[in-house]
């Protein structure tokens, strides 16, 4: 049996020999951004790369998802290494698509790079032959929970059931035999560091419609029912709830008005809003959601409008596996030094990695390589060596720890992991979050 250190050294050499290619792929994706469930070009690029590199590829999973599995043929744990295909929509971003305004303002293009980095190293013949079990490379659509109207259309057409790509992967059974999952996100902490640990808020999403009664806003406002006033009051009522949110629950509620009236000289009769309700745990999400619904209804009652509240399942809070975290930390230290592996705090953002983390042992490290505000026009990956290569290497080295020595480490982690719920319980729970109620007060 080959020494594990030698194996890791071979892995890294293999990656280094393909560094230019890996970075180029990430940059190519950066300038061809596609938003969730529309990542056609990116999906094909990933599928073609795996085919070229000798893996069998499944495509069209949840519309645009791709899975390529390295099956050693030997029994052992099954590890998923993930990368997210989708971009955001940020008009004004330096690399925004001029037509769609899609832009990689969250660094997902680098994730594809780091995932292919893992594959590049593990597919090296001298490494591959020493592994047991399986590694599935998953290029997943639609992590950003956006374009809700489009996704509702997909939902209505039966093309998807959930708005997050990993949720669809779970539903379609692609995580059924996966033991361990990992994905590296870009981050904006101290440049050159790798982050590990932390946790994420979960969320649910709401689309809201106020129906009032149109009337001439100058001539006969007394005949109208102002749906915009209903929404405005509801926003004030939502804000009035904030003092009741516990610090520990890190609740976030941040609505937008997507339609605020048709013409300024007509009393607005159809006003639409969208909001998330986020918190660090599911009971807190549901508690805040009840309060938000009540506040939304109060806007309707106050003005005599009616309100339709559609609630969609969002993402579950993320909790990362501690044993897996320690293995990753050791490998990351060999790449950037002990001092440059930082422990992450709780993040109030959400990810569908959270859903995965509730059912299998998961980590989501960060490669700190960006400047600007996440989701902002100025969010750029500055350091592709960290974002793509070192991020990929740290994951790849971790996979080597998990899948060598008969997979004992991987099996131990998988065996010790306590899932919050089974996959069927997960699906049942997510479906229970869905509701569509119209209140006529």
């Amino acid at each position: 049996m080959v020494d594990r250190a030698d194996l890791k050294s071979s892995f890294s050499s293999a990656v280094n020999s393909r560094a230019d290619e890996l970075e180029r792929i990430a940059r190519d994706i950066l300038v061809h951004p596609e938003s969730g469930y529309r990542e056609v070009r990116t999906s094909k690029l990933v599928a073609d790369w795996f085919k070229t590199n000798g893996l069998e590829v499944q495509t069209g999973i949840a519309k645009t998802g791709v899975i390529a599995t390295l099956d050693t043929g030997k029994p052992g744990p099954h590890v998923a290494v993930m990368g997210e295909l989708d971009s955001l929509i940020v008009p004004g971003h330096a690399h925004a698509d001029p037509e769609t305004s899609a832009a990689h303002a969250c660094g997902h293009h680098a994730q594809i790079g780091s995932m292919l980095t893992v594959a590049s190293g593990l597919l090296e013949a001298s490494v591959k032959k020493e592994l047991v079990g399986k590694v599935s490379f998953m290029a997943v659509p639609a992590e950003e929970y956006i374009e809700l109207e489009y996704r509702e259309t997909l939902l209505a057409n039966g093309e998807i059931e959930f708005f997050g790509g990993k949720q669809e992967f779970i539903k379609l059974g692609f995580f059924d035999d996966v033991d361990i999952a990992m994905l590296t996100h870009t981050g904006g902490e101290t440049p050159g560091t790798l982050g590990i640990g932390g946790s994420n808020n979960g969320m649910i999403g709401k689309t809201i419609q106020y129906i009032g009664k149109a009337a001439h806003a100058g001539g006969s406002p007394h005949l109208g029912v102002n749906a915009l006033n209903a929404a405005h009051l509801a926003l004030a009522a939502i804000h009035a709830q904030r003092e009741t949110f516990r610090d520990a629950d890190t609740v976030r509620v941040h609505p937008i008005i997507t339609k605020g009236g048709a013409a300024v000289n007509s009393v607005p009769a159809d006003v639409r809003m969208e909001t998330y309700v986020r918190a660090s745990n599911v009971p807190a999400i549901l508690n805040a959601s009840d309060k938000i619904d009540r506040a939304l209804r109060a806007g309707a009652l106050a003005t005599g409008a009616s309100v339709r509240i559609q609630t969609n399942p969002g993402y579950l809070p993320a909790k990362y596996d501690e044993a897996l975290t320690e293995i990753y930390r050791n490998n990351a230290s060999t790449l950037v030094g002990d001092d440059n592996v930082i422990t992450l705090n709780h993040s109030t953002g959400c990810t569908d990695v959270g859903d995965v983390s509730q059912i299998i042992a998961t980590i989501q490290p960060t490669a700190n390589a960006t400047s600007g505000n996440g989701h902002g026009i100025d969010y750029l990956v500055d350091d592709y060596d960290i974002a793509v290569l070192k991020a990929g290497k740290a994951m790849g080295l971790t996979v080597i720890d998990l899948l060598t020595g008969d997979g004992a480490t991987g099996n131990k982690i998988a065996g010790a992991f306590k899932a919050s719920m089974t996959i069927s319980e997960y699906l049942e729970r997510m479906r229970s979050f869905r509701s569509d109620v119209t209140y006529e007060e």
Partner: protein, 456 residues
């Protein structure tokens, strides 16, 4: 005789009597003004005007009048009988002060202040009583004059008044409403009073138009108190509920028609007990005014919906107690014409401004309620500076505020009840009351309701 002719001097007897009456009032003017200032110095709010009432009683008794006291707690009635039977004309004055602690005449302890000039009404009423008590003047009357001194015209201190209502001391929350209920006006055929005003034009008097009707709401939000720093998540903030309701009410304003003269306004009478506790109970006193009780209804419905929405928004509950308020003032056209004629006779042409019947005064008075059951007028004596109900409302010209109203009301009474009370009878015959007193009382009773909503 014709009322359209501007000639109240058609009867020589009235003319002589009037001259004597005006001389009498002129001679008493210093005493009348001093009496008004005495009342000003002892401001007391509605249903608590005990000192003021005692003073008024003594003064009327000194004129030889028999005074019925303690009507609706502090109200009084003294009937001066003419030599011959005939209709009864009421001359009214209001006893109560407002509560304006920053007013220069405010009581240091209670904050009560005569920021609406009711003290001048008392002086004017004394003037009328003084003149009509002169035997040869009284003998010219075919009928009676009832001096009715009413408590609590200002519709304030709702909680205190509701306590009186609960203990059975009063049923309605204003003096004239309560006196109508108690039958004080049963033997009265028509009523008049003069109110002071500021900034109502240059002429000494102003008459005509109407006033708003209103309804009051005692709104009690019940939330749940909790440490505002330590455990705000365990509380339900009743203040937020009330504030939401206030914002929601403001959002309704674009739906109010100008022609309805809607006024919606309120105060938070208890907004929490300690800043470090989530307010668990909040009291809001709301008022809805509009040109008529009928016009108020849809507006009040919207306002109550807003109260409920506040409770729904916060998960609180809300209790809304509806209190029957005032009715719109309807000035009797004959009385108004007589008052105008006598003003011009005494003070000259141009001394009174007449505003159109439909012109609505945004405020409200329980003289409106009285005007729904009998002929009534509620002219204004322009004699004050500042803003009504404000800290700067002061009577600047007591001749205008006290003496002139005494003279014009006296002359009007003489014309009504002189000459065999022909004009008083015509006034009664031509008047079409909206309700009888009994109908009024049962209708007002039905306006009182209490509903609870939530907890949501």
């Amino acid at each position: 005789m014709s009322l359209t002719k501007n000639n109240p001097m058609s009867n020589a007897e009235i003319s002589d009597t009037r001259a004597l009456a005006l001389r009498t009032i002129e001679g008493a003017s210093d005493a009348l003004i001093a009496a008004a200032k005495t009342v000003y110095a002892t401001p007391e709010t509605g249903f608590n005007e005990h000192k003021t009432a005692a003073y008024v009683r003594d003064q009327l008794q000194a004129l030889g009048l028999e005074v019925e006291t303690g009507i609706a707690r502090t109200g009084m009635k003294a009937v001066l009988q003419g030599s011959k039977p005939g209709p009864t004309v009421a001359v009214i004055a209001e006893l109560d002060a407002l509560r304006v602690p920053s007013h220069p005449g405010a009581d240091g302890v209670t904050g009560a202040a005569h920021a609406c000039g009711h003290h001048a009404q008392i002086g004017a009423l004394f003037g009328v009583a003084t003149a009509l008590s002169v035997p040869e003047i009284r003998d010219s009357l075919s009928g009676n004059v009832a001096f009715i001194i009413t408590p609590a015209e200002e519709f304030i201190e709702m909680n205190d008044r509701l306590t009186l209502r609960t203990s059975g001391e009063i049923e309605f929350l204003s003096g004239k409403q309560e006196m109508i209920r108690l039958g004080t006006f049963d033997d009265v055929d028509m009523a008049m009073m003069v109110h002071t005003s500021a900034g109502n034009g240059d002429a000494p008097f102003n008459i005509g138009g109407t006033s708003n009707a209103h309804v009051s709401h005692q709104v009690r939000y019940i939330g749940k108190s909790a440490h505002a720093g330590g455990a705000p998540d365990k509380g339900i903030n009743a203040l937020q509920a009330a504030m939401f309701a206030n914002a929601a009410i403001n959002a309704q304003r674009e739906t109010f028609k100008e022609s309805d003269v809607v006024r919606v306004h309120g105060i938070i009478s208890n907004g929490g007990t300690a800043v470090n506790a989530v307010p668990g109970e909040v009291l809001y006193e709301g008022r809805v005014r509009a040109k008529s009780v009928e016009a108020i209804e849809p507006i009040a419905e919207k306002v109550i919906r807003c109260y409920r929405a506040g409770a729904l928004a916060m998960g609180a509950s809300v209790e809304v107690q509806v209190i029957a308020g005032y009715h719109a003032l309807k000035q009797d056209s004959i009385l108004q014409k007589l008052f105008v004629n006598n003003t011009e006779l005494i003070l000259g042409r141009g001394s009174i401004t007449v505003v159109g019947d439909k012109q609505t005064h945004g405020g409200s008075t329980d003289m409106g309620d009285l005007s729904a059951i009998m002929p009534a007028i509620h002219p204004y004596a322009n004699s004050a500076s500042g803003v009504g109900h404000g800290h700067d409302y002061l009577i600047e010209d007591y001749d205008r505020a006290v003496v002139a109203p005494a003279k014009v009301m006296t002359a009007t009474v003489l014309e009504l009840l002189g000459n065999g009370a022909q004009l008083a009878r015509e006034t009664v015959d031509r008047h079409k009351p909206i309700w009888s007193a009994d109908q009024y009382v049962s209708m007002q009773r039905e306006r009182f309701t209490t509903e609870s909503y939530g907890p949501y």
